[in-house]
Structure formats: structure tokens, C-alpha cells
Amino acid sequence: MKKYLLKRVFYMALTLFLVATITFFLMKLMPGTPYSNQEKMSPEQIAIMNQQYGLDKPIWMQYLLYIGGMLHGDLGTSFQFSNQPVSYLISSRIGASAQLGIQAMIFGVFFGVIFGSIAAINRNTWVDTGLTILSIIGKSVPNFVLAVLLQYYIALKLGWFPIADWGGFAYTVLPTIALGVGPLAETSRFMRTGMVDVLNSDYIELAKAKGLSKFQIVYHHALRNSLIPLVTLIGPYTVALMTGSMVIENIFSIPGIGEQFVKSIMTNDYPTIMGVTMLYSAGLVAVILLTDIIYGIIDPRIRLAGNEG
């Protein structure tokens, strides 16, 4: 197990390294400098600026400096907000995005498990059909469309929740729903399929032969076996939530990383774009590694591999 972990961590580091390299050279292809947004400067001033930002050094040195800086948490300076280090931009905004993302994940998975289980237990009845239709709609309606609708009808018209901005818990409700409906629908479908498979298996048949009630069978046997594969979904959900946050934060004016990313794209703020890219990649890689570890722990077949027979 340890050896496997080390190997994974190594690949993780390698991946991030590659990502950093690719983005660095990609950005070097782009026009633009930290000071482009300021007024026209004379050649001497440009030279001074170049020296100040280290842009006069050869590319490979810039690259090494960049990587070195990254390992120290220095991701360069934003083009858009000159004098603002990218790391500051990120750290000041990561709280909001993290909270939103985690809330949406919990919301989606929790209700998805419940709905999926109900659908599986009542399979091929109208309950199942109804839930299936709902989850297809939930999966198919783009989250930004849903966000706009929620904002308009629930916040503006009904006034139940604030329309935008970030403050107390109430501000997080609508964005969480908009962001979480996708994972909810997906989890529900996945759970249903998984549980139907489990309910058709031999050991459930034996559980029935033991005289256990439907509830006991689902609660003690079916749930655990159906939940374990769910762990594999956390990685893809993280990606979806990162993606979705960009537009949800935009619509609800939430000061998060997603909103910043979009702004950076609009203003060609390459250092920030790179910094956020690295953040997303690092986050994703970490989540994937984490889910692998969790899976290994909760599935007794993997945890206690090998026959003591």
C-alpha cells in the first residue's frame, strides 16, 4: 500500500510539473506584460520595467525562476491588478469558492443518494419513472440557465433569498442549489443503477431468505455496497464544480476564484490565469489521490487483500 501511495504522489508531482511547464510556455507565446495596461512608455522605461519584472532574462532562466517561485508560493504578479501578487488574489478568494464547492458537493451527493435509493427500491413503478425524469432534466438543464432562473424567480420575484453577493448562509443557498443540481442528478442515476445491481445479487437473495425486512436489507446490506462505487465520482464532480463555479460565481457576484478566472481571461491577465490553472490542477490531482485512498480504506476487499484461508 505504501509503495503504491508513493508512486501516486510521484506521478502527482510529475503531472503538476508538466502542467506548470506547459502553461508557462503557452503564456510566453502570448503578447502582453505586467505593465501593458498602463500608459505608453518610452523605450527606456520599458527596459527598466522589463528588468524589474525579470523579463530581460533568457527564457529558461525565467522558467526556472517561475518554477522556483511556485514552490515557494509565489505565482507572479497580476497583469490586471498591477502590484497584486497572484497568490494574494487567490488566497483572498479561495474561501468563498471552497465553501460553495463543498456545499454543492454535499447537497448533490446527499440528496442524490436518497433519491437514487428510493428509485432503485421502487424500480419500474411510477416513483422510479418520476425520479428518473427529474434526474434527466436536472442533468440536462445547464447550471447557468438554472442559476438565472433561480435568481429571477426565487430571489427577485419571491424574495426568499438574496439576489447576489456573499454574506451569511442565506447568500449561499441559491448558488449551492444551482451548482449542486448537476451532481444531484448524476448521483441519483448512478445510485439507482448501482443499487439495482446490488439488489439483484445473490447475497441480497440470501438476506431475503434470512427473513430480513425490505428496510433491513436496504439499510444493512444494499446501501453500503452501493455507496462504495460512488467514491469514484468525486473526482469528476470536482471538475464539474470547478467549471460550474466560474459562471455561477459570475451570475451571483460571488467573490470567488471562478469569477476571478473569468475576469482574468477577459483581461488577458496571464499570470493569474496560470496561477488559477495550477490551483485547479493541483486541487484535482489531490482529490483524485484522496478518493483512491478512501476507496482503498472503505472497501474491505481492497483493505484486507489476500486470503487468510
Partner: protein
């Protein structure tokens, strides 16, 4: 009791057992795999309806090409700006040229001095352009992007997956590592980075979407190829000396076809969503071209007062996505004999 037991001498004569051969016949008519799958698909009403919807949308949007093109879309007619829907023959408020201003339904067409026989089925946008025309055109563009991107996704993914799975060993290992690295970057980030390097346009979006999503297909194909590789008919083919390319075409691809088709049905809505998403945040397709995403973006800006401008493209987008998803589900159930109940 005795009555029933009374038998004739002839009853005890030996019986000719010729029917024994018929006992082997299976009662239900036998079907080929495709026929069986088609039969099961037909039973799934949702999938059949979805299939029709998808086909109709493709036909209408592509068929509109001679009638609606870039020129008709660019032409702005400010005198018709922001008119609500007016469907001839329909007199429901909201669809008869009237819009709510404050609490009152006002005939906007009359207000703008529009000729009595002129109508816009979905209303107009802020430049007076027919929304219906724009929606049809936008659907076409969204579909083109999605279908072409999916095609590239397919080609790259399937080839990569087959090669990786078939070769196995070192090659497979390396190829899988590459996929791991690529999939460690959220696909949107890849798309965004690519769009920064290649200026936005339909071509670059297609490329960007294709490049960021082929890994899923590649992984699935590889897993299935590994499984098929160990099947005996493949072993037989190799023993007979067939070249790997031939084996891939004649044996692997037909067996992979069901997975490919199903996965494609899911990739298309993902591509549509992607494009709409990108255009919505403004880094996708830009004016004067239009797509569903662009229309959503424009519609969102006026949502509070002119909700129809976002509703129409939103409904079309959702229907498209739902249909493809239902179709994908239906195909998956039809192709997989195990999920019968």
C-alpha cells in the same frame, strides 16, 4: 377412476419418436443482436420520442441554411427592437404581441407601429432581429460544433484506446500516464488555454472541445479492448495470421460499436453544453456568429424585462440535451442484455 384407466390395446403400441428433433427448437423467434437491440429500443418510448426530436431539430436547423444565413442575421431593424412573440392565430397574452409593462399587458406591436400582417414567432432581440431565425441558426451552429467536436473526439479517443489496449505492456503504460496527466487538468482549463492561444472561432472551439474530452472515450475503449483482446475469437484470428489492423477493423470495432455509439450520445450533449457555457461567459463564439450559448448570454442581460429572449433558446437547449441524454440511456439499455429488468 376405472373408466379413465381403460385403455385400448393399440394404445400400447410403440410410439415413433420423430418429434425429438423439434424439442431443440427454441420457441421464441431468434433475432440478431442489432434486431434485438432495435426491438428493445423501440419499446422505450422516451428514447423513440427523443430520436424523433433530435432528427427533427437536425433537419430543421440544417435545412434552414438556404433561408437563414449570416446576412439575414446581421441585418438589424431597430424599428422592431424587443418585440414579444406574436404567433398568428394564438391569443394568449405573451404570445399575441402583448407584453407586460408593470401590471398591464401592452400591445407592443401596435406601440412600435408594426404593420398588421408582420409577426415574429419568437419575438425580436434588441436589434430587431427575428429571434426565431436566430434560434434556428444558433441551434445549427451549436449542433455543428457539437457533432464535429464529437467526431474528432471519437476518432482520436477510439484510435488511442484501441492502440493502448491492444499493444499493452510498456506502450499501454506510457499512453495511460499521458492520459492521466491530461485528465488532471480540468477540461475547461484546457479549453480556455487553447482558446487563448488560438483566437476564438468556430474552428478553434471545435478543436478545443475535442482535445479536452477524448480522454474519457479513450479510457473506455481501452478497458473494453483489453477485455476483448482475451476473447477466443480474437485469439483465433491472430492464430490465423490476420494483421492487427485487420483484426481491429473486423473484430474489435464491431464489438466496440455499441459502447462507441452510447458514449457518443453522451458526448454530444456535453459538447453542446461546453460550447454554450463558453459562449455564455464570452470566450466562445462571438458576434456576428451566433449559437445557443450566445443567445443565452444576450437573453440573460435582458431577463428581468424581456424574459422570452432567454426562455426560447434555453428551452431549445434543454430539449436538445434531454433528448440526447434519453437517447443515450435508451441505447445503453437496448445494447446491454443484462439490464433487462
Amino acid at each position: 377412476m376405472e373408466e379413465k384407466m381403460k385403455l385400448q390395446p393399440k394404445d400400447f403400441q410403440a410410439l415413433e419418436v420423430k418429434e425429438e428433433l423439434d424439442a431443440e427448437k427454441i420457441a421464441a423467434p431468434s433475432l440478431t443482436f442489432t434486431q434485438d437491440a432495435w426491438r428493445r429500443l423501440k419499446k422505450n418510448k422516451g428514447a423513440v420520442i427523443s430520436l424523433f426530436i433530435v432528427l427533427i431539430m437536425i433537419v430543421v436547423s440544417f435545412g434552414s441554411t438556404p433561408f437563414i444565413n449570416r446576412d439575414t442575421l446581421v441585418k438589424s431593424q431597430p424599428q422592431y427592437a424587443n418585440l414579444p412573440s406574436k404567433i398568428p392565430g394564438v391569443n394568449i397574452n405573451g404570445f399575441n404581441g402583448k407584453a407586460k409593462v408593470g401590471d398591464v399587458w401592452v400591445d407592443k406591436y401596435a406601440q412600435a407601429g408594426v404593420a398588421k400582417d408582420k409577426y415574429f414567432v419568437m419575438g425580436t432581440d434588441y436589434l430587431g432581429r427575428s429571434l426565431a431565425q436566430r434560434v434556428v441558426y444558433g441551434t445549427k451552429i451549436s449542433l455543428i460544433v457539437a457533432l464535429v467536436a464529437t467526431f474528432f473526439d471519437l476518432t482520436i479517443g477510439v484510435t488511442y484506446g484501441i492502440v493502448s489496449g491492444w499493444k499493452g505492456g510498456r506502450t499501454d503504460n506510457v499512453m495511460q500516464r499521458i492520459i492521466e496527466v491530461i485528465s488532471s487538468i480540468p477540461s475547461l482549463v484546457i479549453v480556455v488555454l487553447m482558446l487563448l492561444v488560438f483566437k476564438p472561432g468556430i474552428g478553434s472551439i471545435i478543436l478545443a472541445i475535442a482535445i479536452s474530452s477524448w480522454t474519457t472515450m479513450a479510457r473506455m475503449i481501452r478497458a473494453e479492448t483489453l477485455q476483448l483482446k482475451s476473447q477466443e475469437y480474437v485469439l483465433a484470428a491472430r492464430t490465423l495470421g490476420q494483421s492487427p489492423t485487420k483484426i481491429a477493423w473486423k473484430h474489435l470495432v464491431p464489438n466496440l460499436s455499441s459502447i462507441i455509439i452510447i458514449q457518443t450520445m453522451y458526448t454530444i450533449p456535453a459538447a453542446i453544453f461546453f460550447e454554450a457555457f463558453l459562449s455564455f461567459i464570452g470566450i466562445g463564439i462571438s458576434a456576428p456568429e451566433t449559437s445557443l450559448g450566445v443567445l443565452l448570454n444576450e437573453g440573460q442581460k435582458n431577463f428581468q424585462f424581456l424574459p422570452y429572449q432567454m426562455w426560447y433558446p434555453a428551452i431549445v437547449l434543454c430539449v436538445l440535451m434531454i433528448s440526447f441524454n434519453l437517447l443515450g440511456d435508451g441505447l445503453r439499455d437496448a445494447f446491454d442484455p443484462k439490464t433487462r429488468r
